[in-house]
């Protein structure tokens, strides 16, 4: 009883320790010039892509990893340089500079001959692209490691991390992919499992606040758009004839099809809205989660100038809320990957539908075989 009370007191006082350094900092800021701490700007800056990877704020500047910038401009051809060069020389290098505001805010632009800002062909390795490369390499290392171990000893009971991965993969395969896709689940299982683990790993890496995590990859609508387009290609390029027949000439009363093709139009729109919903669902969930976490953390900075008492109490609240929201975001990371994979599997299963005439014949031959035997 006393031991438990002692443990509880240790944890609660540990939480109060989080407020001490900031109450000290609040007393020293009034002397310097107080920049307005703009929460919305900070959240958007953390959610957006960038040309360098900021690791930490140090005394006068930051420690950043400069990333290569690859440009092709119509006037001067190909350019390849590190993004740190864009910060010397008053932020311009060879005529390229990062636009401070306007339509291309935050992106590299140059001024063409008539003086208007124009964007060159930008193939740079930005923060999101570098994080994609890192997470892909990490995923390949993990999965190939598990695969090699399973190939060497397929019948052995695995322990540790490989056992956990085996359980994870088998649970997704047996509970999501097999029932949803149906007969030819083995053909689509590689794609669906890859999608699941790719989305899950990128979601989790986006929650880690320090390098090499923390790049908002799955919250970038371009990434989710490519995932949705890939699913749409897999569904429509491998759909059976029966699937296309059900889109363009569905089994409905004739007046819904003949003078005005109402049902075919609705079905055709459905072909595009289903992957669109996949894209928006993943993007909005992950982006919303990240902005909530950053917003709660910024409570500490917003209350920094308001005196030590308010600051330390709000910091304590902020730490508790942020930890809670981070746990929720971990659950959301798994659920969103699960829902994306499950819906892709269901759509693929719906596209691999056999004709109902063939199904009737199959049932009849089974019935006859039973009667004979």
């Amino acid at each position: 009883m006393m031991k438990r009370l002692f443990h509880i007191l240790i944890w609660v006082s540990g939480l109060f320790l989080t407020t001490l350094p900031l109450s000290a900092a609040a007393e020293t800021t009034p002397g310097e010039q107080a920049e307005e701490f703009n929460v919305k700007e900070m959240i958007l800056e953390h959610l957006a892509d960038a040309y360098e990877w900021k690791i930490v704020n140090w005394d006068n500047g930051d420690i950043t990893v400069p990333l290569p910038v690859i440009l092709h401009s119509k006037t001067s051809g190909w350019h390849l340089f590190l993004s740190s060069k864009l910060h010397n020389n008053e932020g311009s290098y060879n005529g390229f500079y990062i636009a401070p505001e306007g339509k291309y805010k935050g992106k590299i632009v140059e001024k063409d001959t008539s003086g208007t800002e124009v964007r060159p062909l930008d193939l740079s390795l930005t923060k999101n692209a570098a994080s994609l490369i890192f997470s892909s390499v990490l995923l390949i290392i993990i999965i190939m490691g598990v695969a090699r171990s399973m190939k060497r000893n397929p019948m052995e009971a695995k322990k540790g991390f490989i056992g956990f991965m085996e359980m994870f993969i088998v649970s997704i395969n047996d509970e999501v992919i097999k029932p949803a896709v149906g007969k030819d689940h083995a053909r689509y299982a590689p794609y669906l499992l890859t999608v699941f683990f790719f989305i899950f790993l990128n979601n989790v890496l986006g929650l880690i606040p320090f390098f090499p995590g923390g790049a908002n990859v799955t919250g970038n609508i371009a990434v989710t758009m490519i995932l949705a387009i890939t699913t749409m290609l897999v569904i429509n390029l491998t759909g059976t004839k029966e699937y296309y027949k059900e889109i363009f000439w569905p089994d409905v009363p004739k007046w819904l099809k003949v003078p005005v093709p109402l049902m075919p139009a609705i079905e055709l729109v459905g072909v595009f809205t289903k992957p669109f919903a996949l894209m928006i669902r993943l993007f909005a969930n992950i982006t919303g989660g990240h902005s909530t976490v950053i917003g709660l953390t910024s409570i500490v900075f917003v209350t920094a100038g308001m005196g030590a008492a308010i600051n330390s109490s709000m910091s304590l609240l902020s730490v508790i809320f942020t930890v809670f929201i981070l746990f929720v975001e971990l659950l959301v990371a798994y659920i969103q990957a699960y829902v994306f994979t499950m819906l892709s599997a269901v759509f693929i299963g719906m596209a691999r539908v056999e004709s109902h005439q063939k199904e009737k014949e199959l049932i009849e031959t089974k019935h006859i075989n039973k009667q004979i035997n």
């Binding site: 509970e175 919903a277 928006i280 669902r281 993007f283 909005a284 969930n285 919303g288 659920i335 969103q336 699960y338 829902v339 499950m342």
Partner: protein
């Protein structure tokens, strides 16, 4: 014609921001009510048959994620308006 001139008078004010905020509020209301109904029926199902708790839990989470997706559609569209 009068309707057009009345509507044009409202363009300069901050009414678009008000509209976006109201839109998000209604979307959250809808999502909360829908997911509440899912939770209710899931709880009742588990209370009737505790052995099916695992199946019911997975289906509840899937339905909640789908409804949340629709609500986040509205949030994204309102974010574009802002």
């Amino acid at each position: 014609m009068e309707l057009l001139s009345i509507l044009l008078q409202a363009t300069g004010t901050g009414l678009n921001v008000l509209g976006a905020a109201l839109g998000v509020g209604f979307a959250v209301l809808g999502a909360g009510w829908g997911i509440g109904k899912i939770g209710t029926s899931a709880m009742e199902g588990i209370a009737r048959q505790p052995e099916a708790a695992g199946d019911i839990r997975m289906n509840m989470i899937i339905s909640a994620a789908l409804i949340e997706g629709v609500a986040l559609f509205a949030v994204v569209v309102c974010g574009f308006i802002l």
